[in-house]
Symmetry: C2
Subunit: 337 residues, 2 copies
């Protein structure tokens, strides 16, 4: 158990500020009280600057977490999972945000190393090859989350996005849908967005349905992006009977657009999202989506990072987190045509 | 400008891993390349362990941010504001999460101090007196956000919750509402929840309306808490014509409960929320709420913390962030009775 200044204050029966004054050698503490505090400090071995000194001894127990942002339910839950496991094993966790900026990613990666973090968990959708290279060269335990790094030797934890998207679109097909649009991320997005599009492609192919390019819209992954893409689709021709969206946020933006333009969801257009964010079950109609446990992503990453830190052998290098289809009210079953 | 290993690699025209190998004295680098890298290292004064050493020299430029959690739009935006300003002034930002646990708050507070952070921004709704005491004793620049610390000498940035709540409830009264319920936070909540209840009380009093205890429900601040409280209100007697909620999340949970039980919003019951989270404009009917800029909270905190760090004089010790009523579709105007 870590002794805090509070414990010292309680044991010496003085206030925290008195302990602080004694530590800082302030002259305003009377000698009897000073002696009492010093005795407790000695007995408890309390060291206010323990970290600064262990840094020098290269012996911290800090896990660094490098994220693009935190305005994102998935990353929030993931961090919760990391924290939970790290604290069980006595590790502290510090989070840095890169804003998705590769230079900033590199900077914070270096900062964590320089702080002598025991290991680093990186969630970087746009992670560059140079950072991969640095991670491999650095020799500090690292785990990637949210991006499949199978092409690299760096351990990673991720959702099997392609299979999950395949299953979601196949479900729509089984409900009788044939004209299924996809609102996807930008084609250059090397992470989840692309893999989810792959699953869409595969499901159409497996059902021998044509991929109709006019039904595939590229955009960002936000609510507003969903609205914008849906407007384009709405203006460009007859509506599809179903829309698969790369994120719940896009689906929510798209559904709201249609509802406001008098199109009935799911009677006229069905929707399938991805991520199962809080909002998915709160909006009406409730959104059908792909659910996975983001906190499990974090927990698996933290557990295996700690094994790496301790020099234990890993059971695998790449882990997939399980997912499931969460069917709610946004999908209509079509009668056979 | 901070030199990174990447800059060194580029200048020496080698890969990052080669630079790393030279730094780590690996024998696998040929002597000509080694010399080239060493020359660049010397010229750029690049120090891979700069932080560990500046820690000893007490000269980092790190701002620590201590939050209860990040599953919260307001805190996410606030962190964005902090990051934006900190980076402009050349500070790094590290975030630690306490999970709202006071021991963990204390632990990370100490960790930041021990890492020789230049200053700390603390958002701790449940922040305890012992931590206040520690902050005052520590002599390290600190700013509180989201909690009014006027009773303390610790600088703080916050929303004027009481005035904002007063204005929201007064607006409902002006729309003809007389029976206005409040779904509030727990009475023990010393932060925003309590202050918002104060504003509700004051608005009723100013309009000479009685405060009816059976219309005030205490709970947590989540969507589920809103649903639970609304169910109690629904089962306990005639519905009020309007409900003021301490958070948008509670309002959303309460509105969904009524809608699912056949009560029309806003025709039968009007709603006013607080915080203007993303969801407020996404759900239907769109929720009327109190809007303020959480990123401004963060920016003001960071700017003034940096002034404190630099030893500059502050224009004030406590700052209020401006707010405004965002009137949307969740409020009905009652005809005069």
């Amino acid at each position: 158990m870590k002794i805090t200044i509070k414990d010292v204050a309680r044991m010496a029966n003085v206030s925290i500020s008195t302990v602080s004054r004694v530590i800082n050698n302030s002259q305003t503490v009377n000698s009897e009280i000073r002696k009492r505090v010093l005795d407790v400090l000695e007995a408890t071995q309390f060291r206010p600057n323990a970290i600064a000194r262990t840094l020098v001894k290269n012996n911290t127990s800090l896990i660094g977490v490098l994220l693009p942002e935190i305005k994102n339910n998935v990353l929030d839950d993931m961090v919760e999972g990391i924290n939970q496991v790290a604290h069980l094993y006595g590790f502290d966790v510090m989070i840095a945000l890169s804003g998705g900026n590769p230079d900033s990613e590199m900077h914070y990666y270096n900062l964590f190393r320089e702080m002598q973090a025991s290991g680093i968990i990186i969630s970087a959708s746009g992670i560059r090859d140079s950072l991969f290279e640095l991670i491999e060269a650095a020799g500090i335990p690292c785990i990637l989350v949210g991006r499949d790094s199978r092409e690299q030797s760096i351990p990673s934890v991720h959702v099997d996005n392609t299979s999950a998207a395949f299953e979601a679109v196949t479900y729509l097909i089984q409900q009788g849908h044939r004209d299924i649009a996809m609102l996807r991320g930008a084609a250059g997005d090397i992470s989840a967005g692309n893999q989810r599009f792959l699953g869409y492609e595969q499901a159409l192919k497996a059902a021998q349905l044509p991929l109709r390019p006019e039904l595939v819209l590229e955009s960002g992954l936000s609510v507003e992006d969903g609205t914008t893409s849906m407007r384009k689709l709405y203006l460009s021709g007859p509506l599809p009977s179903a829309v698969f969206c790369a994120t719940d946020r896009m689906a929510i933006g798209a559904m709201n657009f249609l509802t406001e333009n008098g199109v009935k969801v799911p009677e006229q257009v069905s929707f399938f999202g991805f991520d199962d964010i809080d909002m998915a079950a709160i909006i009406r109609p409730k959104l059908s989506t792909v659910r996975y446990s983001a906190s499990e992503l974090g927990m698996v990453a933290a557990r295996n990072l700690i094994k790496l830190i301790k020099g234990e052998e890993l059971a695998a290098v790449h882990w997939s987190i399980s997912h499931q289809l969460e069917i709610r009210d946004s999908i209509a079953r079509l009668v056979k045509r």
